[in-house]
């Protein structure tokens, strides 16, 4: 349970990884060149003040909320779905996309009737439709959500869209936007208090990189 004064930061594996790393580098926090042969799970930056670990994005808020890791970079799609109790001091403006309701182009979506929604974001979807007083039935899927309406599993989906190309290729259209999504720096509530010098440095540097030298 002991905290050392080192600040550990979780980076998201996958599409955001290189951009997150690039932002940190521009903020003066240099991670070592990744050598593919290395199996080290935790690496330190050049100054030795920061440690990094790469994790699956959905796991990052869990680690950071518990305090096992001090800070992380993760999308608001995941943050809102998990309803994490963490600080979100910097919107990093990377991984920008939209969470939308999408349905097959040729089909009407009658929200007056019970509609079945397939999604990777069941809690967000439920909150959204409850806010609309629409009674929906939600099926949680782990991937390729856009196929569900084509195969008759669901009437519509709630999913991320960046360009909308995947939707179009599958004969779907955006019905409504649920939320704008981007990646944020998140910080554990106790770490913010107990390691304030290093974490405030991280926040100030990242904020400057994102907002002052665009």
């Amino acid at each position: 349970m002991s905290l050392n004064q080192q600040v550990m930061i979780a980076l998201p594996k996958g599409r955001l990884y290189d951009q997150a790393r690039g932002l940190l580098a521009r903020a003066g926090i240099m991670m070592p060149e990744s050598d593919n042969g290395s199996r080290k799970l935790v690496v330190s930056d050049a100054s030795g003040r920061f440690d990094f670990v790469s994790l699956k994005p959905v796991d990052i808020p869990v680690y950071v909320e518990s305090g096992a890791i001090d800070a992380g970079i993760v999308g608001t799609d995941i943050l809102r779905e998990i309803e994490s109790d963490v600080y979100e001091p910097v919107d990093l403006k990377i991984g920008v996309c939209r969470l939308v309701v999408a349905a097959p182009s040729e089909r009407e979506l009658p929200l007056s009737q019970m509609v079945c929604i397939a999604t990777k974001y069941p809690r967000t979807a439920e909150r959204f439709f409850r806010g609309r007083n629409a009674h929906v039935h939600i099926v949680k899927l782990e991937g390729s959500v856009e196929i569900a309406p084509l195969l008759g599993l669901a009437d519509a989906i709630v999913d991320l869209v960046e360009t909308g190309r995947t939707l179009r290729e599958n004969g779907m259209r955006v019905v409504e936007e649920v939320a704008a999504v981007s990646a944020k720096l998140i910080v554990n509530r106790t770490a913010m208090k107990m390691k304030s010098a290093a974490i405030n440095h991280l926040i100030t540097q990242l904020d400057a990189v994102v907002y002052e030298h665009r």
């Binding site: 905290l3 919107d91 944020k184 509530r189 208090k193 107990m194």
Partner: protein
């Protein structure tokens, strides 16, 4: 039918030997500090009417373990000590001499989210001083809490101190409707200063008030930050609140190195009315406990009495040792 006699339901645990002994030692140490300060023990019932919860804290009420009694009254396992204390004081002690100094220790039960590594049952110990509203009594309670923590062996413990009136005064000056205020509070709670700035600007909040909010968001440190905050805010309520913290600091010179004035947080539930305390240790990744002045709660139970108190997590304190 298979009987569950060997296992334990998910989210619960047993403490054996060393863990139980550590907890017992910590509890005994606290009890000695409480006793020498004139605090007397109470053992509240483990079950309450569900309606006891949810006064200002719907989050706790939603997480209670609920069941029905023989007459179909909705009951809950104790999910928080302070409402029990309020009920007892309002019902049985209101006519007695004031102030009332009492302490308690025991389990509270709240349903944790599935698979998040949290327990449903946790162990709290705390004290309340009821019937007097003064900075001297706030200082007394904070002194008792810190003495307990040091005595237990959490020698690196510290307390972040704030005052509900500081933000309340600024909110009054913002003149926002409830919905807009929620958005402002959520940005502050996430420490998302850019979003906060944008929202305040969109809501038409004047630049001087925006800059006050910004100054407060940086006020963390020794008593010096109180002077900085004083110089920045312009409304009487906030200034009076900062003045109270200056007095509090003056009453506790022996704890100066343990007290961090931290004006960056807000009390989202609007439960506290005066000084607010959050206890931490560099040896633990979670908050050790919290407390403060809550002059509004007892009125809801029918006794309009001011109160100040704290509760600490026996589990987390034990994990520090």
């Amino acid at each position: 039918m298979e009987r569950n006699v060997i296992g334990l339901p998910a989210g619960f645990r047993d403490l054996l030997f060393e863990e139980a002994e550590t907890r017992r030692r910590v509890e005994n140490g606290f009890a000695a500090v409480f006793s020498s300060g004139g605090y007397r023990e109470i053992v509240p019932s483990g079950v309450e009417f569900l309606d006891v919860y949810g006064r200002g804290n719907q989050g706790v009420k939603d997480r209670t373990f609920k069941f029905l009694d023989r007459d179909d009254n909705l009951l809950a396992l104790r999910a928080d000590f302070t409402p029990s204390v309020a009920r007892i004081v309002a019902g049985r002690l209101r006519a007695g001499p004031l102030p009332i100094r009492l302490w308690y220790s025991g389990s509270v039960f709240r349903k944790a989210d599935r698979h998040r590594g949290q327990f449903h049952e946790f162990s709290q110990i705390g004290a309340e001083l009821i019937g007097v509203n003064s900075i001297a009594r706030d200082a007394e309670v904070l002194d008792v809490a810190l003495t307990c923590l040091m005595g237990a062996g959490v020698e690196d413990a510290c307390v972040h101190v704030n005052h509900a009136g500081i933000f309340r005064g600024i909110v009054a000056a913002l003149g926002l409707d409830a919905r807009s205020l929620e958005k402002v509070k959520s940005a502050i709670d996430r420490k998302d200063m850019r979003t906060l700035g944008t929202r305040l600007e969109q809501l038409g909040v004047a630049a001087p008030v925006r800059s006050q909010v910004n100054t407060l968001s940086r006020c963390v440190g020794d008593a010096g930050v109180l002077a900085e905050a004083s110089a920045s805010v312009a409304n009487d309520e906030s200034l009076r609140a900062i003045g109270e913290l200056v007095s509090l600091s003056g009453l506790l010179p022996q704890w100066a190195s343990r007290i961090v004035f931290d004006l960056t947080e807000i009390d989202e539930l609007e439960y506290y009315t005066g000084a607010m305390f959050n206890f931490f240790s560099p040896s633990h990744t979670g908050e050790l406990g919290r407390g403060g002045r809550y002059d509004g709660l007892l009125k809801e139970f029918g006794a309009d009495l001011p109160a100040v108190g704290f509760s600490l997590s026996l589990d987390r304190i034990s994990e520090c040792l």
